[in-house]
Symmetry: C2
Subunit: 204 residues, 2 copies
Amino acid sequence: MIKEQIPDIIVGRLPRYLRTLLILRETQTTTNSKELGKRLGYSAAQIRKDLSQYGEFGKQGTGYNIDFLIDSLNHILNTDRNWDILLVGVGQLGHAILNYTGFSKFGFHIRAAVDINPNVIGKKFNTCVVQDIGKMKEIIEENQIQIAMLAVPAENAQETAEKLVEAGIKAILSYAPTTLSLPPEIRVEYTDPLISLQHMTYYL
Amino acid sequence: MIKEQIPDIIVGRLPRYLRTLLILRETQTTTNSKELGKRLGYSAAQIRKDLSQYGEFGKQGTGYNIDFLIDSLNHILNTDRNWDILLVGVGQLGHAILNYTGFSKFGFHIRAAVDINPNVIGKKFNTCVVQDIGKMKEIIEENQIQIAMLAVPAENAQETAEKLVEAGIKAILSYAPTTLSLPPEIRVEYTDPLISLQHMTYYL
């Protein structure tokens, strides 16, 4: 299996499968494509087809062993290890991100945060102290951080993202309401509720 | 054109086109599929194909008039009007949502917020006062609210979402880290940074 040859749309569904399996595991040890499909709103055939890209996880008639499928998906997604994250921008949203504890139980740890605002620099949170944005490159290199969360205003997002890439960041989760233009090898994901709202109203 | 027949994957790209056009409008009056594609990371052909689902927006050689395309996309997405939103759950994340002013300039107004916690009920924010979750149905009906943001813990999300649907909500933007199982006519979008992180690490 060559990971890069599998369509990204399939890859994007794997974390959702994982999420659902973690919920199912609380009450059962096996599941099947029909049950997963029903929970996720996909067809059973879709789920079988997606998973078959990565191997043989279930048996005709007995379905999937949940623990095994969770371990396999974590291995495929590289989420069977810990990841350090740099947060750029500690405004209102950045504060909420730093106070939120939901990432770390899945292995994502915000190890450092930077901002340009002197009123925020030095502020202490659970896992880190906010540092000057001028130290960004140094922090990334010293800690070999590959993932950044971008929570700066839209007008600063592109410039900041370029600096992150120069400093060695390989993946950016952007909260900024703008589209970033970066080299194709950099993974960019957007968390953008406004886009989701505008998508929904199409159907209303 | 019958809206429901156009693949949802195309619909999902329209808000991103709109976003990019709004940025381009600050400095120019026309654009073309090549420029849009470059900014968004899609091919020019993809953009022409997507837009052609909805009509003829550009002319060979002269490209797109940005104002016209923005107006057209807003009309297609139903974002040329105002929408009222109910926020369910005013914890840490809910506070950040209520304090955030970025939605309203795009016509999305949080008109009401509800929570179960007596310490939060009665708390006043820019646009609303937090009310008891017991009044949810009444609030939705009285204000004819169609869109809800769900910011409750994962374990309460499904039950709360079902109550929202019973009360008349047609679209839910869920911040809860779980997958909702709702009737197919209900639009559900997830804003879930964890899913995005797990998607990115696949490639790292």
